[in-house]
Structures are given as C-alpha cells and as structure tokens.
C-alpha cells in the first residue's frame, strides 16, 4: 500500500508538475515553431516533428507505466496502483492517437502516402488497439477485483506481444516492400534538437501530471463507490 503521506505529497505537487510541463511545452513550441530554421529537405513541414516525436515517446511512457503498474498490482493487489494503470491506459490512448494522426499528416508530404506498413506504424496501431481493448474490457467487467486482475493480465500479455509484432512486421516488410523509406539514422542539427528536448521533457511531465490527476480522480471514485456500497474497509485509512 502506498502510504497516505506520500500520496498527499504527490497530489500536492501535481500542480507544480503541471505548471512545469506547460512551461517546457511553451518554450519547446516557441523554439520549434518560431526560432528553429526550416529544414533543408522538408521545409516547414518538419516542424510537426516537435509534436509527433514527443507524443510517440509519451505514449510509450504511459504504456510502460501501465505494464509496471499491472505487474505491481498482481503482486501486491493495491487498488491505487490499479487506478494508476487505468489512468495510464486512458492517457496512452490519447497520446497514441495523436502520435498516429500527426505521423500520418507528416507522412503525406514527406513520403507521399498517409500510411505505410512500417513496423513502427503497425506496432503503434496495435498498441492503440490493445489500449482500447483494455479500456473496453474494464467497462464490461462488473466486479472490481476481477476487473483489476483481468485488465492487468491483458496489459502484461500485450506488452510481451508488442515486440514480437514489431519484429514480425519488420521481417514481413523486408520481404514484400523495398525499404525505400529509411527512418533510421537520421541525424539532426543542434538548433533543431534543443526544442525537441524541451518538448520531450514537457510531454513527459505532462504525462506525469495527467497520471496524477486522473489517478486521484479514479481513486476518489473508487472510495466513493466503496462507501456507497457500505464496503469501506482498509482502503479509507
């Protein structure tokens, strides 16, 4: 059980984390959209990178949180960790969707296609489907303890499966499509890197902030339901 004092401290500081994330994202966007020079090959289009890349990383961050939280829940059966997982899945859906949509918009002018069966694209689409399936599964299970356990199992099996999806699609793609679009080993100029780092820190803080707020909300709802059901037990302490 995460102690009440630690919880209180985390929730007290969540406002500061939110402000910091806003600050970093504001500076990052200003540097990225206004200060950084246009790209030699892509022109102004490359600026979508400052949203796309940090959001993609943030979605992975939330899925790693979901995976670790699910393992911890199965180990300790701590409901607040389950609330954290629930929060991470919802936030993951948001960041994954934004990453996919911005990626698609970026792909059209640079690769001249909205979608290509690249391993990274497919893994992100599968990730989105897993997260949506996770949230749907949670809404359909009535019993709270069952819901938490089932969801944790699904999150873990999905996390194990995702690398296999990535490698199988990579093999499949090298067989069927020539690797015309190389997405690896692209070097980046320092003036373009600084805003990206700001955005990365900003979105990571944003994920933490959203996780804290959402976990708090879900936890309070959990307490309320327990109270209404007359089942208020050690959870309130």
């Amino acid at each position: 059980m995460i102690s009440a004092s630690l919880r209180g401290k985390l929730w007290k500081w969540s406002g500061v984390i939110g402000l910091l994330s806003g600050l970093f994202i504001f500076i990052g966007l200003f540097l990225g959209l206004v200060v950084a020079p246009p790209d030699y090959y892509q022109g102004e289009v490359f600026r979508i990178m400052y949203v796309h890349v940090p959001f993609a990383k943030a979605s992975l961050l939330s899925y790693i949180t979901l995976f670790l939280g699910s393992c911890f829940y199965l180990w300790k059966k701590d409901f607040i960790v389950d609330n954290l997982c629930h929060a991470a899945a919802g936030i993951g859906v948001f960041f994954t969707s934004v990453a996919l949509i911005t990626g698609s918009i970026w792909a059209k002018p640079t690769w001249n296609t909205w979608w290509t069966w690249d391993p990274r694209l497919v893994s992100f689409a599968i990730l989105l489907l897993i997260l949506i399936g996770y949230l749907m599964l949670r809404t359909f299970v009535d019993d709270k303890r069952k819901e938490a356990t089932y969801a944790a199992v699904l999150a873990i099996i999905g996390f194990v499966d995702l690398p296999i999806v990535y490698f199988s699609v990579e093999w499949w793609r090298t067989l069927h499509q020539p690797m015309s679009i190389s997405t690896r080993g692209v070097s980046i100029a320092p003036g373009m890197l600084t805003p990206l780092i700001f955005m990365m820190i900003g979105t990571s803080l944003l994920v933490s902030y959203m996780l804290l707020i959402r976990t708090q909300m879900l936890y309070l709802r959990h307490l309320l339901e327990a109270k209404q059901g007359g089942l208020l037990s050690e959870e309130s302490s």
């Binding site: 399936g133 359909f140 199992v153 194990v160 296999i164």
Partner: protein
C-alpha cells in the same frame, strides 16, 4: 493431484463432452465451410491469381473459425458454476490452462485437417505432396492462436459483451501468428525449399513458447483473483 494428471483429466473431460455432444466440431466445420463458400464468390479471378491468394484465404478462414471455437472454450465451465469449482480445486492452476489449451489445439487441428481437403477440392489445389509441411505450419499457428484464445476466453467468458470483446482482444495480438502462418503456407504451397521459409516457422515457434509461458503464469492470477 500431480501436474500432468490435471492436464490429462481436463483434456479427457473436454474431449468426452465434445464426443458426446459434437457441438463445437460440427458448428466450427459448417462455419468454416460457409466462409469458404463466401470466399469463392467474393473473388472471381482466374486460377493462378486464386492460388496466389490461397495462403491468405486459408488463414482468414481458420482465424474466423478459431474466434468462434476458442471464444467459448470456457463457456461450458460457466454453466453450473464449474469455474468456481476449478478455482477451489487443490490443483496447480496453470495445469488447468494447459489442459484447456490442449483440448482447444486438438479441436482446432481436427477442424483444420477436415478443411484442407475441402480447400483442395473447391479451389483445385494440388497439396498432396505438401501435407507434412502444411501440418507443421498449421500446428504451430494453432498453438499460438489457442494459447492467446484460451487466455482471452476466460477473461471474456463471463462478460455481457463476450462475442464482441473476444475478437477485439484476440485479433490485434495474434498479428504475428497470421503473418508467420500466411508466409510459411505461401512458401510451402509454392513448393519452395524448406530453408526459404524456415524463419517464419521459427517465428511461430518463438511466439508459441513466449505466449504459452506468459499465459500459463498469468492464469494463476485469473483464477485466483
């Protein structure tokens, strides 16, 4: 009860009830037959194009059939609260999973073995010489699908929206199975040497191992919640 006895008795129980009712096997068989029928009208193309499409068609048919079959593998346990008895039974819970998995693999393999001749007849394929390699591929892919399907079956069997949730969970995660199975079947059907599609068989094998081990371990928590 020793570990392997649990597997054996769960398998025996499922097979006995299946042999007596013949419920799953007949419904799966006629469902797959319908899928084949729809396929043959959906693609009005020449023989050579059809043969190129065959591996995909075979695995879409088997995939749909497995959704139907695997999704209700724990349905018989819901009646009369058998799940509660499995929960309180003093046996290793993972063995229950492996017993159910073995039953599902057996059931799906029987359906697939019946369906291959039908594919041969309806689509005029010449597969007699390729039967051993096709069987190995089918077996490995069926193990992978069943390992995921058996786990998701118990997750979804008591839900209101069981029919919707089961494929939604199973299909995205079984992408590697479909890729591996289709590519390996393609290689086997076109008569390529084994070494040219060996890595797909290895992919299926690795997927089976990882998913079975993780599911086996997770099953303990599901029945224990």
């Amino acid at each position: 009860m020793p570990f392997f006895d649990v597997i054996k008795w769960i398998l025996w129980k499922d097979m006995l009830s299946e042999i007596r009712s013949r419920e799953s096997i007949s419904s799966l068989f006629f469902f797959a037959l319908n899928v084949i029928l729809i396929f043959s009208f959906s693609f009005s193309v020449g023989q050579d194009v059809m043969l190129a499409l065959m591996p995909g068609l075979i695995w879409v048919a088997f995939g749909f059939t497995s959704i139907l079959g695997l999704g209700k593998s724990f349905l018989s346990e819901v009646h009369n609260d058998c799940i509660a008895y499995l929960q309180i039974a003093p046996v290793p819970k993972g063995a229950i999973y492996l017993g159910k998995l073995a039953g599902n693999i057996l059931l799906m393999m029987v359906v697939e073995i019946i369906l291959y001749p039908l594919f041969m007849i309806f689509f005029n394929m010449d597969i007699l010489a390729k039967i051993p390699s096709l069987l190995i591929i089918s077996f490995l892919a069926t193990v992978g699908l069943s390992a995921l399907g058996t786990l998701f079956s118990i997750l979804t069997v008591q839900l209101r929206a069981r029919e919707v949730m089961f494929p939604l969970l199973l299909l995205p995660l079984s992408v590697p199975v479909f890729i591996g199975a289709v590519e390996a079947t393609q290689g086997a059907l076109s008569g390529d040497p084994y070494s040219s599609y060996r890595h797909w068989i290895e992919l299926l094998f690795i997927f089976d191992m990882i998913i079975t081990i993780v599911s086996f371990w997770m099953f303990e928590y599901i029945l224990d919640y």
